[in-house]
C-alpha cells in the first residue's frame, strides 16, 4: 500500500494460516498474518504487550493484542473472539485472504528491566493472548531470566486457547505450566478451580518475581487480591487494560481511563500506577 | 396555581417512605431558565415552581433511569418516582403505560392543569434574557414578564408556544394528585406549520426539508429528550446491521429523521420537546404533528389518552383505509 506517513492508512496483509482455538458462538480464531509489502515486513517491529488495529476494508477495524513474540519470526499472530461487526468479518477470513493491519500501538512489557527475575504470568480465557508473547519471549531468552511460571485457566477445557502448544510446554523443563478449568471434566489431568485459587495454592514466592495478569475483570480483581496476600508489592504486579478504541493514536478520545489513554499510555500498567487511576477497574 | 399548595403537596409526597424522589421544575441558573429538579426530601420541595416557563416534559426521566449492575448484596431501590405533569406530559405517562414501558405502581403522578406555556425563543427575542433571574407569570388573559425588577404585561397570543396553541388536553389525563382546578380548555388553533408544508408541491417540500435536515448535527437530543423514545438498544445506534451511517450528510440525516418520526407515528403526544431542544432549530414537531394528524383523521386514534388502549402500530382494524393500495 504505502509507508506509514499517514497513521490512519493501514498496511495490507495476508492471512498465512488460520485456525480455531475454541468453538461455539463466541469462538476464538487465530490468524497468522504476513505483510504484503516487503519493506513493511522489514521495518515492522513490535514488543510483547503491544496491540495493533486489524480490520477488513469496508467493515472496520478493531484493536487486538498481538499474541506472538517478535522472537518467533517475521509474522504476526492475532487471536480474535467473535463478538461484533468487525470480529465477525475477521472470522470469515480464510488462508490467503486479505486483512489490514496498522500499528503497533501502546507501550509494552518492560522485559529488559525484568531480566534476572522470575516471571509469573496469570491468564484467563482470551486474556492469555497478551500473556503468550511474554511466555514466548522468555522461552527464547531463558538465560536472561530466573524462571518462568504460567498459570492459565478457562471455564472448560474447550475454552482454553493455544491448546496445540500445551504438549510442547509440558516437555519444556524450564517452564512450569499450570492449567486449570472451572469445573471438573473427564480426561482432564490438570488443575480444577478458579485461577485466583490455583495461584494461591501454588503459593509462588514474591521474591525477585514479576507477576503479570490479564483476563476478565472479576478474575483480575481476585488475582490482585491474592497476589497481595502472597506478599507481592505493587510494582511487582503488571496488567493490561482494554477499552473501546478507534484511532489507536490518542486522538479519538474514547479509550481514556482517568487521564490515561489506554492506546498511548497503556495498555500495560503496573499496579502502582493503576491504583492512582480512578476509572481503571470500572 | 397556588405555589404554596404545590410545595406543600410536593413536600408531603417527597417525604413518603415509598417515594424515591419527586421530579418537578425548579428555577434554573440564570435568566428565564427552568431546570428539572430531583427532590428527595420535604425540604427540597421549597425549590419547586410552576410557571409558564416549565415547558420541559419531565416524563422522559421515567425511562431515562440507568439500570446499573448492583454491587453484591445490595437490593435494588424499587421505590416509586413522583412526577409533576402538565396535560401533554400526562399523555406521555399514559402512552408509556399503554406500551408497558413503566408500571403504574411505580409512579406517583401529580397533575398540574396548564393554562399554556410561553415560547422560550419568542420570549428571549422580545425580552432579552438577563443574567439575573427573571420570571414569567400567568394572568387572567396573558402573561407578566418580570425582569430587571420591571413587570410587563403581555397578551396571551403574543408569547404562547405553538404546541400550546394546538393543545387539546391542557388538563392532565391521568393523575394521582391534582393540584388546583382544571383549566378551561380552548379551541385548538389550526396547525399552520403543517398546513404550510402540506400546501407546497412535492419539489418545494423536498427543498424545504433538505434545507432543514442539512442543518442536523445528529446530537440526538430530539431522541433523548423524547419521553417515548426509550429503546435500550436504539436502531440508530446499531452498527450490525448499520441502518443509518454515522456520517453526517443530507442522506443520512434524512434517514435518521424519517426513522425517528416514523417510530413515533401513533405514539407522539405532541409535547413539542424535540423541537424545543433541537440546537439546529429543525421543525421536528411538524413531522410528528403531521403523522399525528393522519392518525387522528384517518384512523380515529389518539395516543396517550387511555392507559388501557391498544398501541396504534401493534393493532389494526379490518376496515383501515386502503385507498393507497393498487
Amino acid at each position: 500500500m504505502k509507508t506509514n506517513e499517514n497513521p490512519y492508512i493501514p498496511y495490507n496483509a495476508t492471512v498465512e494460516d488460520t485456525w480455531f482455538e475454541t468453538g461455539g458462538e463466541r469462538a476464538i480464531k487465530t490468524f497468522k498474518v504476513v505483510f504484503d509489502d516487503e519493506e513493511v515486513r522489514k521495518n515492522w517491529s513490535h514488543r510483547p504487550g503491544q496491540c495493533a488495529m486489524i480490520g477488513v476494508l469496508g467493515i472496520g477495524e478493531s484493536m487486538i493484542s498481538i499474541s506472538c513474540s517478535p522472537t518467533e519470526g517475521d509474522f504476526l499472530r492475532f487471536s480474535v473472539m467473535r463478538m461484533g461487526k468487525v470480529t465477525q468479518a475477521l472470522h470469515q477470513l480464510e488462508t490467503g485472504d486479505k486483512m489490514t493491519v496498522r500499528g503497533p500501538y501502546g507501550n509494552s512489557f518492560p522485559l529488559e528491566e525484568w531480566e534476572g527475575k522470575q516471571i509469573l504470568t496469570i491468564g484467563g480465557g482470551i486474556g492469555q493472548a497478551p500473556m503468550r508473547p511474554i511466555v514466548e519471549y522468555v522461552k527464547a531468552n531463558y538465560d536472561n531470566y530466573a524462571g518462568l511460571t504460567m498459570i492459565y485457566g478457562a471455564r472448560t477445557s474447550g475454552d482454553l486457547c493455544f491448546k496445540n502448544e500445551f504438549e510442547d510446554m509440558a516437555k519444556d523443563k524450564e517452564l512450569s505450566c499450570h492449567l486449570t478449568i472451572d469445573i471438573e471434566e473427564e480426561q482432564w489431568d490438570h488443575n480444577v478451580g478458579f485461577v485466583p485459587q490455583v495461584l494461591l495454592d501454588l503459593n509462588p514466592s514474591p521474591e525477585n518475581t514479576i507477576a503479570i495478569t490479564c483476563g476478565p475483570p472479576i478474575m483480575i480483581r481476585f488475582v490482585l487480591e491474592n497476589l497481595k496476600k502472597l506478599g507481592f508489592e505493587d510494582d511487582q504486579i503488571y496488567t493490561t487494560l482494554e477499552n473501546r478504541m478507534k484511532c489507536g493514536i490518542g486522538k479519538c478520545g474514547r479509550c481514556n481511563a482517568g487521564g490515561m489513554y489506554v492506546c498511548k499510555d497503556g495498555p500495560v500498567f503496573d499496579y502502582a500506577t493503576l491504583k492512582a487511576i480512578p476509572e481503571a477497574f470500572a | 396555581m397556588d405555589l404554596e399548595k404545590l410545595r406543600e403537596t410536593a413536600a408531603e409526597v417527597a417525604a413518603r417512605e415509598d417515594v424515591k424522589y419527586l421530579i418537578g421544575w425548579k428555577k434554573g441558573t440564570y435568566g428565564y431558565r427552568v431546570a428539572p429538579g430531583f427532590i428527595e426530601d420535604a425540604d427540597g420541595a421549597a425549590e419547586l415552581i410552576f410557571s409558564p416557563l416549565c415547558t420541559a416534559n419531565l416524563a422522559t426521566y421515567l425511562t431515562l433511569v440507568e439500570k446499573l449492575p448492583l454491587p453484591r448484596g445490595e437490593e435494588p431501590d424499587d421505590r416509586k418516582t413522583a412526577l409533576m405533569v402538565k396535560g401533554c406530559d400526562s399523555r406521555a405517562v399514559a402512552q408509556l403505560l399503554v406500551e408497558k414501558g413503566i408500571d403504574r405502581e411505580n409512579v406517583v403522578v401529580i397533575g398540574c392543569p396548564c393554562p399554556g406555556m410561553v415560547d422560550p425563543e419568542l420570549l428571549a427575542e422580545k425580552y432579552p434574557e438577563t443574567e439575573e433571574p427573571a420570571e414569567v407569570k400567568w394572568t387572567d388573559d396573558g402573561f407578566i414578564v418580570i425582569r430587571d425588577g420591571e413587570e410587563t404585561s403581555v397578551s396571551r397570543d403574543e408569547l404562547l408556544a405553538e404546541k400550546c396553541r394546538l393543545c387539546r388536553y391542557p388538563n392532565p389525563v391521568i393523575s394521582d394528585i391534582m393540584l388546583g382546578e382544571p383549566v378551561e380548555t380552548w379551541e385548538p388553533a389550526e396547525d399552520e406549520g403543517v398546513n404550510e408544508v402540506e400546501n407546497k408541491d412535492v419539489d418545494e417540500r423536498e427543498a424545504y426539508w433538505e434545507e432543514q435536515f442539512s442543518n442536523c448535527v445528529r446530537c440526538y437530543s430530539c431522541r433523548n429528550v423524547c419521553p417515548l423514545c426509550y429503546c435500550q438498544d436504539c436502531i440508530l445506534d446499531r452498527l450490525n446491521p448499520t441502518w443509518v451511517n454515522r456520517s453526517v450528510n443530507f442522506s443520512e440525516n434524512t434517514a435518521f429523521n424519517i426513522a425517528r418520526a416514523f417510530h413515533l407515528a401513533g405514539r407522539c403526544i405532541e409535547c413539542g420537546e424535540c423541537e424545543r431542544v433541537c440546537p439546529a432549530n429543525i421543525p421536528l414537531g411538524k413531522l410528528n404533528r403531521k403523522l399525528a394528524r393522519e392518525v387522528r383523521d384517518k384512523y380515529g386514534f389518539e395516543p396517550g389518552l387511555d392507559p388501557e388502549a391498544e398501541p396504534f402500530q401493534a393493532s389494526y382494524k379490518p376496515d383501515d383505509p386502503e385507498d393507497f393500495i393498487l
Partner: protein, 337 residues
C-alpha cells in the same frame, strides 16, 4: 505595518480581494448564525453574537473522509487537501480553541488531516464588543480581544475596523489589501484599550478556575456529580457545539463498489461511545460521563497539555435543553474543594 484602519464602507471591497481562497463567515440560517462557506459575490455581515456551531468544522469537519478504497484494498486514495481558506469574523474564544486542540492533534503522532487544514487556514478574528450572556472567557485564560491563534484581528471602532496583523499570514493579508487601508493614528491605541476594557466589564459570568484542575481528582466520588448529572439527557449538544471537543468515531461506509473510511464527530455523552462489544461499559451512566466531560476539560487536558480545554464560549450553557450549566458545575466544584 501592524495597525491599520479599514473603513466599514470598504468592507465589501476587502472581502472581494480574498478571491481564490475558500471564504468562511458567519451567516444567518434556519439554525441561527453558523459558519458556512460564503457564496461567490456575497458579503458577510459581522454584526452577530456568536455562531451556534463553532468554526471548528472548517478545520475538523463533522464528517471527514480519511481515504477511499476498493474493497480488495488495492486502490487506496487519500484526499488532497490543498484549498486555502480564510475564516472571517472568528471570535477570539474559537480561535483560542483551535490552538488548544492543535496540541492534541500534534501530540506524539501527527494527525495529517487536521494539521493540514490548520496550515491552510487563515483566521481573521473579530474582537468581541458585545459579549454574550454566558460568556466566561476571562475565567479560563482568554478574553474578548485575545489574539491567540488569530492571524489578523479586527476591532470594531464604530466607523472603522482596526486591523492588526498577528502572524505572517495576517501581514500578507494586510499587504494584499494595502490600498484599502489607512494608517491608524496614535489615538487608536487608547480607543482600542477603552473598547476592550468596556467589553471585559460586560462579561458577567465568572468562576475562579485556579484550584479546579488540582482539586478535581479528589472529588472523584463526590455526590456533586450525581447532583449535576441527574437531569442530563445524554445528548450530544454540549459536545458537538463545543469548540474544543475533538472526539471522533471512525466507520467504514460502503456504497456499491465505492467505499470510504470516514470519521465523524462523536460525543463522550453518548453511552455507545465507550461501550465494549461484550456489553460492559466502563462509564455506565450519565454521572460518569458528565464527570468525564468536566475532568477531561479541566483536569486530564491540563495534566497533558498544561491548558484548560474550555474557552468559555458559553455555547453548552446556552443550548443545553435542561440547563446544565458548566459555570454552575465549576462553582459547585469550587465549593466542594
Amino acid at each position: 505595518m501592524s495597525a491599520m484602519l479599514l473603513n466599514k464602507e470598504k468592507w465589501p471591497d476587502f472581502v472581494g480581494r480574498l478571491t481564490g481562497k475558500k471564504l468562511w463567515a458567519p451567516q444567518a440560517g434556519g439554525d441561527g448564525m453558523r459558519f458556512a462557506p460564503v457564496a461567490e459575490g456575497e458579503v458577510p455581515a459581522l454584526d452577530y453574537g456568536n455562531t451556534r456551531v463553532p468554526p471548528k468544522q472548517a478545520v475538523f469537519p463533522q464528517t471527514e473522509t480519511l481515504f477511499r478504497f476498493q474493497v480488495d484494498g488495492e486502490k487506496v486514495e487519500e484526499p488532497k487537501l490543498e484549498e486555502e481558506a480564510v475564516l472571517l469574523g472568528v471570535r477570539p474564544c474559537d480561535a483560542r480553541a483551535m490552538v488548544i486542540v492543535d496540541k492534541l492533534f500534534s501530540w506524539d503522532e501527527d494527525d495529517p488531516y487536521y494539521l493540514k487544514r490548520r496550515e491552510l487556514v487563515t483566521l481573521v478574528g473579530l474582537a468581541c464588543t458585545e459579549p454574550g450572556l454566558n460568556c466566561f472567557c476571562t475565567s479560563v485564560g482568554g478574553g474578548p480581544a485575545s489574539t491567540e491563534g488569530l492571524d489578523l484581528v479586527m476591532i470594531d471602532l464604530g466607523e472603522n475596523y482596526l486591523l492588526e496583523a498577528i502572524t505572517e499570514k495576517g501581514q500578507a493579508l494586510l499587504a494584499e489589501t494595502e490600498d484599502l487601508l489607512e494608517e491608524a493614528k496614535d489615538d487608536v491605541a487608547e480607543q482600542k484599550e477603552k473598547i476592550i476594557n468596556e467589553s471585559e466589564q460586560k462579561i458577567k459570568r465568572s468562576v475562579n478556575t485556579e484550584d479546579i484542575p488540582g482539586g478535581l481528582p479528589g472529588l472523584w466520588e463526590d455526590p456533586l456529580w450525581q447532583r449535576v448529572s441527574a437531569s442530563c439527557l445524554g445528548c450530544g449538544t454540549c459536545t458537538f457545539l463545543c469548540p474544543t471537543c475533538h472526539c471522533f468515531d471512525i466507520q467504514d461506509e460502503t456504497e456499491g463498489f465505492d467505499s470510504r473510511r470516514c470519521r465523524s464527530w462523536d460525543s463522550c455523552m453518548f453511552a455507545e461511545y465507550t461501550l465494549h462489544t461484550s456489553g460492559h461499559n466502563p462509564r455506565p451512566s450519565r454521572r460518569e460521563r458528565t464527570r468525564n466531560r468536566i475532568n477531561h476539560k479541566y483536569n486530564y487536558y491540563v495534566d497533558k497539555f498544561d491548558v484548560i480545554a474550555c474557552v468559555g464560549c458559553g455555547r453548552c450553557i446556552n443550548l443545553c435543553p435542561v440547563n446544565i450549566d458548566i459555570v454552575d458545575i465549576l462553582k459547585q466544584v469550587e465549593e466542594a474543594l
